[in-house]
Symmetry: C2
C-alpha cells in the first residue's frame, strides 16, 4: 500500500485531472452484493487501479487549479497511519493523555509558527486551541460559543435563538450559513453585509446594520471576518470590523481556512492583521501545509464560552484529572465526542522539516500566481477581476459570461487541467488556485496555454 | 511505521492498560518550542516509544474493558492509509466520483450484511446512507432533518426552535443532549422519558408526555430510541415507541452505535427489531467491526428532509451531475463540507474477510461476557445489576457505593485492566465491556481475578 501510494504520487501527472466518468460508472464496475469469501489483498489493490483511479479527481495533480489545495506530505501520511494503527480515542485526557497533550503542544507550536496572538496559547489565562476536522466544524463551534455568551448561557436551557443576528458578506464561505442554520440562526437572522469593490466587508455598513438590529430589539452576536474568501480571496478588515462589533458584544470569528497558513512565511504575515481582536480563529494545515485532511486548527480567546456551550458530563465520562482542572477534555471543544490522534500528523510534519517545505511551496505558488496574473493582464481577451495577493487569481473572458462558461467547461473536459467556476458581482469567472505541492512553473504555463488555446 | 504498528499491536499486552502518567507529564518530555532544523524520521519514531506509548490508554489492549471497543483490523488501517495518500475530497460527486460511489455501495452492502430494511438502500425511493465521523454527528444530522420536517422547512428561515420538544431516556448517550443543544433545543425542551426496571424506555410514559406537550401547544419532533445504552446496554422497544411517536409526526431515530454491529451475526439480529419503523439509524463499524475510527454508518428513510436541512449551494460547488439528480453530493448529508475517502477502509475490510472475522469476534465476546456474568453471580460479594444480552456486563459490590468506587479505582490504578465507572439508578457500578479484538478467555479471567482480589 505504501509503495502504491508512492507510485501514485510520483505519477499522478499522467492522469486526466478531473475524473472523466459519468454518474454510475464506478458502481457499475463493482459487485452489487458483498463478497461471501475473503479475497486476497492483491485483488483489492488491483481494484485501486482498475476502479478507483478512473473515478478520482486528482487533488494532488500538479495541474489541479480547482477549489483549494489539499496537499499531503509523506510525514503527515505516516503520522495519520500511526493514529490509525494505535486506534486510541482522544475524547478525554484520561482516554489517552498523549493524544491530548501532544495536540495542545502542537496548537502552541502553530501559534508561534504562524505569529498569532499570545492570547490563543494554552498557557494564556482564557484561551486555547484544538484540532478539528474542518473549518466548517470550527465555524459551528465558534457560533455555539458566541451563542452561549450572548445569551448568558440561557440558550442551553430555553433554546431560544430567535433574537440572535449574525453578520458576514455574501462572499463568506457556504459553511458560515450552514453553521448558523444548524445552530438555529435562520436566513432571516443572517445579514449579508455589503462589500467594497474588492469584495471585502465594509465596516461602515456593518455598523449601520448592527445599530438597526439593536434598535429593533435584536441581539447581534457573531460576525465572520473572512481572511481570504473562497471566490476571490478577498480580505475583510479585521481591526475595523472588531472596532464596530466588540462594543456591541458581537463575537468576532476570523476564518482564514486557506490563506492563514501563508503566515508561515514572514513576508505574508499580514494575513494575521487585526488578529489581536479576534475571539476565535481557524486555519487549515490540510489545505496548504502538507498535512493531509482532516486537520483544522481552531483557537479561541474565550474557552469558558466554548466549554459553556459544549460541556455535558455523564457519569461514564468523569475523571479526577479533568475535574481538578489539571487536564483538558477536548470532547468539550468540538461537536463530536470521539476523536482521532490527529496531532501526530502535525507533529511528524513539523519535526521532519514540513515548515521549511511549506514556506518554499507557498513562496513558489504565490510567485507563479503573480506571473499568471501578468500573462492574463497582457492578453486583451482576458481580464483579472479581483486582487490576487496570494495564490488565487480570478479571470474571465471580456467577451462575457457565456464565453467564460464555455471556456471553463471545455478546459475541464480536456483533462489537462481543472478550474472552478464562480460568479463575482453577477459575472461568471474562472478561479485559478495554484496550490498543489507538485505544481511547478511548467504546469502553470500549461494551464495558461490551455485557456488561451480554448479562448 | 508499518512495522512499528505491527509490533505495537503484537505486544500491546505488555503495557499497563490505562496510562499511568499525571497531567503535564507528556508535554514536559517535549520541547516547548518547534524545532528549527529538520529531524530524521528515526528521531520521530523513537519518540513514539519514549513519549507517546507511556501516555496512551491502550484501547487495543486485550484487558481493556472500559468505555466501548474501538478495534482495528490491518485491512482497514491500509484502507485508511490509501485515503490519506490519495488526498482527495469527497464533498461532491464531481470532486472524486469514486469516493461517493464506493461509499454509496458500501452503505448498501452494510444494509444487506446487517439485515436492515430495504427503505435505507440508496436504490430505494426515499432513503439512503452515508458514512459520518461519529454517532454524535449522525445524531445531530438526524435532529436537523427532523427539525426541518417538523417546521415545514421554516426553521431554515426563522430559526425558531422554541416550540420543538425531543424525547429520550436518562440512559441515552450524552451526544443526544449535546446534539439537541447544538440544534437549539434547550434542556427545557428535552424530556427524560422514564425507563423500566431494565433501563429501557417506557412507551406509555412517552405517550403521556407527547400528549401533554401537544396540549401545551408544543411540537414533539424527535425521539431517540437507544438500542444498547452506554451505561448498561438497555434496549428501548423500537416498535412500541414508533407506534406512539409516528402518529404525532415525531421523527424516530434509532441509535445502536455500539450494539448494531452485532447484527452481522444472524443470531443477534434481534438488535434490529422494529427498525422498519425508524426514520433514521446509526451504528459504528469503528466500535465492533474492526474498522478503525472514524466510521459511523448513518441511514435515513427520508433523504429529502436531510437535504432540506443541510443543502446550501454556492456557485463554486455547482455541478451538472448533481443538478440533474444523477449524483449524490454527500456534503449535504453531513455537518462538515470536506470529507475523507472513508469508504476505502470499509471496502478493504469487507473484501479481505472482515465480516467473518467480526462475526467470530462478536460471538467470542458475547460468550465471554455471559461467562463473566455467571462468575459474578456466583460470588456473593458481587451483584450483576442489569441484563447483559451482548458484550457488556455491569456489576457492583453488594457492600455499597464506596466499596465499589474504591474497587474500580484500585483495579484501574493497577494497570492490569481498565473498567469504567457508571451510576445506575443512583448506585455506583462497574461496566465490564468485552470488545477488544485480542481479548481471549484468559484476559477476561484475569480481569475477574483482579476484581476478586481487590474486593
Amino acid at each position: 500500500m505504501i509503495d502504491w501510494i508512492a507510485d501514485y504520487l510520483a505519477t499522478v501527472e499522467q492522469y486526466p485531472v478531473g475524473s472523466q466518468v459519468q454518474p454510475g460508472d464506478i458502481r457499475a464496475m463493482l459487485p452489487e452484493h458483498p463478497p461471501t469469501e475473503a479475497e486476497p489483498f492483491e485483488a483489492v489493490l488491483a481494484d485501486m487501479d482498475r476502479v478507483v483511479i478512473p473515478g478520482l479527481t486528482h487533488w494532488q495533480h500538479p495541474n489541479f487549479f480547482a477549489f483549494f489545495p489539499a496537499n499531503v506530505s509523506y510525514a503527515s501520511i505516516l503520522g495519520d497511519l500511526a493514529a490509525s494503527g494505535l486506534g486510541v480515542q482522544g475524547m478525554s485526557w484520561m482516554t489517552s493523555p498523549a493524544c491530548t497533550e501532544v495536540e495542545t503542544l502542537m496548537m502552541d507550536w502553530m501559534q508561534e509558527l504562524l505569529g498569532l496572538p499570545e492570547k490563543f496559547r494554552s498557557t494564556s489565562e482564557r484561551g486555547g486551541g484544538v484540532i478539528q476536522g474542518s473549518a466548517s466544524e470550527a465555524t459551528l463551534t465558534s457560533i455555539l460559543a458566541a451563542r452561549w455568551r450572548a445569551t448568558g448561557g440561557q440558550v442551553n436551557t430555553n433554546g431560544d435563538t430567535t433574537r440572535l443576528v449574525a453578520y458576514a458578506t455574501s462572499q463568506a464561505h457556504s459553511s458560515i450559513e450552514k453553521g448558523l442554520r444548524i445552530a438555529g440562526i435562520g436566513t432571516g437572522q443572517i445579514r449579508a453585509v455589503p462589500h467594497d469593490e474588492h469584495f471585502a466587508m465594509r465596516p461602515d455598513e456593518l455598523a449601520r446594520m448592527i445599530e438597526a438590529d439593536i434598535a429593533a430589539g435584536l441581539i447581534p452576536f457573531w460576525v465572520c471576518v473572512s481572511r481570504g474568501t473562497t471566490s476571490s480571496m478577498a480580505f475583510d478588515p479585521t481591526a475595523e470590523i472588531a472596532a464596530v462589533a466588540q462594543p456591541a458584544n458581537v463575537w468576532v470569528h476570523v476564518d482564514a481556512a486557506m490563506s492563514g497558513i501563508a503566515a508561515l512565511a514572514p513576508e505574508h504575515r499580514w494575513v494575521n492583521e487585526g488578529m489581536e481582536h479576534a475571539d476565535s480563529y481557524c486555519t487549515n494545515p490540510h489545505k496548504w501545509m502538507g498535512v493531509n485532511f482532516d486537520c483544522d486548527l481552531f483557537w479561541t480567546a474565550d474557552r469558558a464560552a466554548l466549554l459553556g456551550a459544549l460541556s455535558i458530563l455523564p457519569e461514564y465520562l468523569r475523571s479526577k484529572a479533568a475535574e481538578s482542572g489539571a487536564a483538558i477534555d477536548y470532547r468539550d471543544w468540538q461537536v463530536p465526542l470521539g476523536r482521532r490522534f490527529r496531532a501526530l500528523k502535525v507533529w511528524f510534519n513539523i519535526r521532519t522539516g514540513g515548515v521549511a517545505d511549506a514556506v518554499a511551496m507557498i513562496r513558489r505558488h504565490v510567485a507563479l500566481t503573480q506571473e499568471f496574473a501578468e500573462w492574463a493582464d497582457a492578453d486583451p481577451r482576458f481580464e483579472v477581476v479581483a486582487p490576487h495577493p496570494l495564490n488565487l487569481v480570478v479571470v474571465r473572458l471580456v467577451e462575457g459570461d457565456a464565453a467564460t462558461d464555455s471556456l471553463i467547461e471545455r478546459a475541464n473536459a480536456s483533462g489537462r487541467a481543472l478550474f472552478t467556476r464562480t460568479v463575482l458581482d453577477g459575472k461568471v469567472a474562472c478561479r485559478v488556485s495554484i496550490g498543489a505541492s507538485g505544481t511547478e512553473r511548467r504546469h502553470v504555463e500549461d494551464g495558461w496555454a490551455l485557456l488561451r488555446e480554448l479562448a
